[in-house]
Symmetry: C2
């Protein structure tokens, strides 16, 4: 049995949409418990629409909302009666196993860091985002939890995301790549070159440097990078998806001839017809909630961040993944993997510091 704390506030579509997603999963998983944290009125209104209402629900009413413009640290400090802080606190106090939120990413990271704490031996938690590829997804880690990385952080990201990937996607020995500006060994800055030596020595299935153009070909299951680069890349991916869809639409409109068949043009916008379905597929690829959301790895408990524009269906899907992660004891497996590689962190860091001072 898994107990999932659901922060229903925030998101581009409002809390009712998220509550609907949670109710769908709750109905399908009667043995798990869903704690809906947020605006009591909205939650009850949505529950009233479902007949019969699921009985595996808890409602935790809160008055405050952490919004996108709040400073993460201030939000955690001063908005104690927010859905985000309350939901994280449930996990921190052992009353829930997983927290899921579409809220302010920085505040989720700050809340999980301060309230749940790091697993033993973890230097920095990292966010792993599933990027679509030709044959599934690649988890890019980190995408912004930690913008100052050293090689040990990056190695730990590889270890944690490998375990996550095994748990969530049943991949036995996930292929771990290192994001770099060339595929050859001698390429990149000192951080990636040194990280490469650590990854090679580790027990991970390290497949070497991966360049930007190969990410979407699915050449690895986990792709490690510094948080600054990962965040820029994630947002740029989103921007480029939207740009290409806008351009496609604009070009189709430009060449359309009034009164003729126009090869499915009308159906492209409405989401019907061949072209409309294809465009819809492209749109859904850009939403990482479709792939179970983005886990914050390295904290004590399952913590999942979903996209702000998640629909009920995608959010419901992320809740199912969260349940599976709890059941497969992913947090314990990450803890074990970190501890098994634990002995040499100190030596690694000492050697990196000596190395970077000499360069």
């Amino acid at each position: 049995m898994a107990r999932i704390a659901v922060d229903v506030m925030g998101g581009d579509r409002g809390p009712a949409e998220l509550v609907r997603g949670a109710l769908t999963t709750a109905a399908q998983q009667p043995n798990d418990i869903f704690c809906l944290v947020g605006d009591e009125k909205v939650i009850n209104e949505e529950i009233a629409r479902v007949k019969p209402a699921p009985t595996n629900l808890k409602i935790i009413p809160t008055q405050q909302v952490v919004d996108m413009h709040d400073s993460p640290v201030d939000a955690i400090r001063y908005k104690k009666d927010s859905s985000l802080v309350k939901a994280i606190t449930l996990v921190a106090q052992g009353e829930a196993d997983a927290i899921i939120s579409v809220g302010n990413t920085g505040a989720v990271v700050a809340g999980a860091t301060f309230l749940m704490g790091f697993l033993e031996g973890v230097k920095r938690p990292g966010i792993a985002i599933p990027l679509p590829t030709d044959n599934g997804v690649t988890y890019l880690i980190d995408v912004g939890a930690n913008i100052y990385c050293n090689p040990v952080h990056l190695l730990q990201y590889g270890i944690m995301a490998s375990v996550y990937c095994s748990s969530s996607r049943q991949i036995k020995s996930p292929r771990v790549g290192l994001l770099n500006i060339g595929s050859e060994e001698n390429k990149g800055n000192e951080l990636v070159k040194y990280t490469s030596t650590l990854l090679k020595k580790s027990h991970l299935n390290f497949v070497g440097n991966v360049e930007g153009q190969d990410i979407f070909k699915g050449v690895c299951d986990v792709l490690v990078c510094e948080g600054f680069v990962g965040n820029v890349l994630l947002k740029q991916t989103e921007g480029l998806f939207e740009f290409l869809l806008r351009t496609l639409h604009k070009e189709l409109m430009k060449t359309a001839v009034p009164g003729q068949n126009n090869e499915g043009l009308q159906s492209a916008g409405s989401g019907t017809g061949i072209l409309g379905q294809a465009v819809g597929k492209l749109k859904s690829l850009a939403d990482y909630s479709e792939h179970g959301g983005a886990p914050l790895l390295g904290v004590k408990g399952v913590c999942i961040i979903c996209h702000g524009r998640s629909e009920a269906r995608a959010f419901s899907n992320a809740l199912k993944v969260a349940t599976k992660l709890v059941e497969s004891k992913v947090t314990q497996s990450i803890q074990q993997a970190i501890q098994e590689s634990h002995l040499s962190w100190f030596d690694m860091l000492k050697s990196w510091r000596a190395h970077s001072t000499n360069n």
Copy 2:
């Protein structure tokens, strides 16, 4: 009159394609001189096809080719009879005003650095790549010439790309953005935060931090970033373009019904029909040669890098842009802009070093 040294070797389509592009521009610009550097036989074969052959050509035969796998520094040192080294040498020795190549980017940078040298006061040259946007292009600088940047390098990139943008696109006061992980002032790592203070103090039209999702909306004309990040981003943009086109094609094939109209599906692959034209437009957007190629800014002379897959038409277009840049004296304008901001480099660097030691 402009004298353009054209390295016709390299590229995915072979030298004949590039010679054809050069001959087109040569015929259209009879007052400029085009030095075709490379395989004499191929060059003469292509010239023989054109009637009447342009008379504003010089042929510089070379025996060696710098390929994509050559180490840049070794290529410059040991392949002295290569088209790339010879073409760059023409500019270095004052026999040409501009060099254009589709070759090994690292080798072009190394060749321009060692043979042409930096403009006075320039700390590091940078490659500016034109990225497509809703309303034109944004020059992203640097995309890999310099993977270890300090704030003065980034400020100089802003200055040089601003001048380039004014020259090549007749924009009076180009909007300069700083690539960052948030739009707020306090976001990012120390490098971008410190660079932001320098950009604010400069005479540039600095519009602040720009996040990845906004690049393609055309919110700025110049976007400054460290070479490592820029290179990853550039390659990822290319990979994502290809991925989306592959996915679109795959989805269309999946839903196609044999024997029916299929809304222009057949025409998508062949490049005809509404959908085919739109897909063709998307493909051409990804080729930066269409926008005049990528200039290496900060060296003594005009140096343009084109995409390896450039067609004759795109290459011809880049040659026209190179001519205009020579005529508008872009190198002299960059030199002047750098010198006008020159006095305070030393103080800036001293203050940055003190700052980074304290952090």
